[in-house]
Symmetry: C2
Subunit: 204 residues, 2 copies
Amino acid sequence: MRSGGGRDERSEDLQVGRWKPDTSGRLERAAIELYLENGFARTTVPQITERAGVTTRTFFRHFADKRDVLFVGHDELRERVAKTIAAAPPAWSATKAAASGLNIAAAALQSSQDEARDRRSLITATPELRERELIMFAAVAGTISEALIARGVEDRAARAVAEAMVAAFRVAFEYWGEHTERELPQLVDEALDSLKEAFAAVGD
Amino acid sequence: MRSGGGRDERSEDLQVGRWKPDTSGRLERAAIELYLENGFARTTVPQITERAGVTTRTFFRHFADKRDVLFVGHDELRERVAKTIAAAPPAWSATKAAASGLNIAAAALQSSQDEARDRRSLITATPELRERELIMFAAVAGTISEALIARGVEDRAARAVAEAMVAAFRVAFEYWGEHTERELPQLVDEALDSLKEAFAAVGD
DNA sequence: CACTGTGATGACGTTCGGTGTCATCACCAT
DNA sequence: ATGGTGATGACACCGAACGTCATCACAGTG
């Protein structure tokens, strides 16, 4: 590889710098391709880096680990969710404020449908990746919980509500992965309605 | 426990067989000791097996991985939860049936308080272990969901309710870890009440 | 135009988690 | 005694992940 320490490159992939540009992007694409082709477990980092034209060490300079590739960008989305909840009218209930945040996330995923569903199928097929997904959702719940507490919701209640609403989101998200005709935001609403109905019966 | 097919045991550690008895138990104890002493990440499997007096290979014959040590026995508890839900009166609501299952788990953990809290502190201190804990809870939610479906609850609603109730349990469980004076079953009830109140406001 | 700093990468070595495989040997049943 | 079984030791191996240093295009400076 390395296209020969090349200062003079006349051939097609004439690159400006010392290295081909967008290393991170090339790694991400190569990784996802290989995960889809051979499965996550049977894909090794050397395979990925070979396809991307870099060394193994470089992979770990861009991603914390093999799984990380599939979870880039979620942090920003989480921030948007937090901001949305913080910006919701103070009069709104905890569930309504949280729901507004989840709507942002649902809309974002809906708009990048194809890519999101690709990742989902990969993740659901691989226990190791499901683990990581659960962590991500836990982080989201944590963020929402904080946002609710900032709105004055009592601590434990905020945690419970945040976790429960994320749970609803997850159920909707999974269903969405298998039913391409449905739209995520509405599925989330339906899940929340289910919970409303079910929890009305708590305590008899 | 095998208690040594013991014909003649005069001195305490006089072993009958070729190997010392209770390998699994010795490994588990050694591992937890070391995790507590040096932290999970800084403990290596060779360290564990050295203390337990076996080879590294043997460790992986008893546990799937380093984390597995802290999650043995949860499968049985999960089964008990499932059976409890299945055995609940058909007239009970989904939440009430599920709550009866969670109560079994809460009571079990409450009764082995000290050990449970030891594990909890280890798990909460280690991201890698939190991951695994999330998987366990996800499995519990899956089991409860199935049990509810078997009771006739509609599929998606069952999933949502199961996940939400496990979420409530988790919140209570965490709080319980920090408030030794409170009892887990009651904390779970309180969390469920929080959800009832909050979700009553869904949909305005 | 030479000089220098910077940042991304290559190259190399190492630790450790985890698996496959085969030989060994107490125990048990016949 | 004889052969089967099951748990373990011993050994080799792969791959993930990290530490470290050298390298070299590029930008900026004078």
